[in-house]
């Protein structure tokens, strides 16, 4: 039965075209994610695998713990480059040569811009240029003091005292000094992960939307429901087919994307804390890059599974494939419209909608906090727990809804 349910989906031209479309779109996303360049000693921009090798080599030279000494060295190196004749020159080529020298410390320099910024939410690209080596010791303390200042001023009304304490505690408890390594593969992978996961979700929505409604459209419902297993095992096999399609397509696409990007850009830095890169500097989840990757792909899978089940429920309830296809679109696009509403309670709700699981990369950076049973937690663990439970509950609901259908 199960194999025939899969055949119903993939024997259709649309089903096969959807798979092909995923391959194309993942390919395009990989192309953008792998768009990394290196400026050589002549100030010329290089692209391709050679450029990746060069960039990796120069950044690897600075791999290690970002202790005070290392920060001092980075500030010194940045100042040396900044004061070089090439950097001070007005000639573009010479400026490029100077830029090229700074590629090895570029990512750490970004961290300096974050740490020594004027405000918690500010980022000044040239802030690192104004630093002296004596200031190296403030690197980690700044991270906490900026947060505290922000919580006292700008964000005073955004969080309860308990939540503020929680955030400060999280910042305090992160293990320092951070271990830094070349991690371009991961950062690029993370940046485009919401795109890939949302593409997969929208196409999955199309693939699973007909599993429960096609029988009605093809008028084969009467034969199905009058057969021995039509109201029990056949429904289970439909649910099984839905889970299988979501699992196979999701993991196929995500692992293909991850594999291509990491093979091309390298998988170094997976044990680094997420805070060792500008994209995760403010993150209050004290996790490694590898753990972030696991959260992103697990969140994406749970999100896809939940939305697909919801789509299947709509399909079973309304007998309409069109309505079922619209479910993922609605769940992905409506929250982005509502995000413009400037309200703390609305944003608290929006942070718990299932689209957040498809963009866990971003959810990890949001300061969305919830108090569950007296304990303050971030949105990500709440999302993972709530939608896992809801997905588990949806399966019997779909079974019950479809199994009791009457064909009038």
């Amino acid at each position: 039965m199960f194999q025939y349910e899969l055949k119903k989906v993939f024997l259709k031209t649309g089903g096969r075209a959807a798979l092909f479309l995923i391959l194309i779109l993942v390919g395009i996303t990989c192309y953008f994610a792998a768009d990394v360049y290196y400026v050589n000693e002549n100030g010329e921009k290089e692209i391709g695998s050679g450029a990746v090798r060069e960039l990796r080599a120069v950044q690897k030279e600075w791999a290690g713990y970002l202790d005070e000494e290392k920060i001092r060295q980075v500030i010194a190196e940045n100042n040396r480059i900044r004061h070089s004749p090439e950097a001070l020159s007005k000639e573009l080529v010479k400026e490029n040569i100077a830029y090229g020298w700074g590629q090895g410390i570029a990512e750490i320099r970004n961290l300096l811009n974050c740490s020594y910024a004027e405000g918690f939410r500010e980022y000044d690209y040239y802030r690192a240029d104004a630093l002296s080596e004596d200031e190296a010791g403030w690197f980690y303390e700044n991270r906490i003091s900026l947060l505290k200042k922000w919580l006292e001023d700008e964000a005073e009304d955004m969080f309860s005292e308990k939540e503020k304490e929680y955030l400060i505690r999280r910042y305090d408890s992160v293990q320092t000094p951070f271990y830094y390594d070349y991690m371009k593969g991961w950062t690029q992978l993370f940046e485009y992960s919401p795109t890939v996961i949302m593409i997969v979700m929208l196409i999955l929505g199309y693939l699973v939307a007909g599993i429960f409604s096609n029988e009605f459209a093809w008028k084969s419902d009467a034969v199905l429901f009058s057969s021995m297993y039509g109201r029990n095992k056949a429904v289970v096999s439909k649910i099984g087919a839905g889970i299988f399609i979501v699992t196979a397509v999701y993991w196929g696409a995500v692992l293909l994307y991850s594999g291509i990007v990491l093979l091309y850009l390298g998988a170094d830095g997976l044990q680094c804390p997420v805070q060792a890169d500008r994209s995760g500097w403010k993150c209050f989840y004290n996790i490694t890059v590898w753990q972030k990757y696991l959260l992103i792909i697990a969140g994406g899978y749970i999100g896809c599974l939940f939305i697909s089940f919801l789509s299947m429920l709509v399909s079973a309830k309304t007998k309409s494939t069109v309505l079922a296809v619209m479910v993922p679109f609605a769940l992905i696009f409506i929250p982005s419209f509502l995000a413009n509403i400037n309200s703390a309670s609305v944003s608290k709700i929006l942070s718990l909608l299932p689209d957040q699981l498809l963009q866990t990369e971003m959810a990890l950076n949001y300061f969305s906090l919830y108090t569950v049973a007296g304990k303050t937690v971030g949105a990500v663990p709440v999302l993972l727990a709530v939608y896992t439970a809801l997905t588990v509950m949806l399966a019997p609901l779909v079974y019950w809804e479809y199994g009791r259908k009457q064909i009038g």
Partner: protein, 295 residues
Amino acid sequence: MELNVSHLTKEFKGAAAVDDVSYTLRAGVYGLLGVNGAGKTTLMRMLCTLIKPDKGCITWDGKDIFELDGQYRKLLGYLPQDFGYYPDFTVQDYLMYVGSIKGMRPATAKQRTARLIKQVGLEKEKKKKMKKLSGGMKRRVGIAQAVLNNPSILILDEPTAGLDPNERIRFRNLISELARDRLVLLSTHIVSDVEYIANEILLMKDGKICVAGTPEELLAPMRGQVWSMDVSKNKTGACRRAYKVANVKTTPEGINLRILSAQRPSENALPQEPALEDVFLHYFGEGAVEEDVSI
């Protein structure tokens, strides 16, 4: 082997589609005749557990079919009026799939599929996609899926709809072959479909079974009430207003009418052997014959 229907009622939007029907069906071929909207399909869908009755119950050998659930449906073969299929499945795939949802072991389903494909004359088309088949071929696949599990109860809703005369005869013969030792309920509004093969005929009107019996039993009261007479063209209208006219035939001499009447309609009227079409006309009226019955 007894399928018992007791005080069965089903309403849609306040109107009774099936109205307090009680009947017992045993092994044999039953023809369910009635005009469109008489409630045949609703009755059959309840017998197939596709819809639940509002009142009354259906039992199989004394047990409620909705409680028997899958155990009852295991014995069932159903060809719906609007037979749908999976357009991208081949004939063979489709039958194998139906075999799986009917709880057949794959080896048995494969064997039965091969035999039935041969029996319904679709050997050459077995690898063809369902959407590429003609209407008649699809109908043959429909009957093959209905009997795939060798059902004790075979319910066929308007099985000959859309078939040409040759296919209809072929289909009728096929049902006769398959009918042995089963309960076959065949609904149609084409009298000739059941005339030769039904052991018992149920006439359904306004949600009720108004008459039931063997063809002989139905025909018996009509004896002496069917007449043939020649009339001039200008008297046709008057005759049609005065009597139920089963047939109008133009002849070189004028018009020949087949009339249903308890009294001899005219001196030159000749008594005729009644046919089921006459019974149908008698119960459902001339409009029903013209609109719904192919005579």
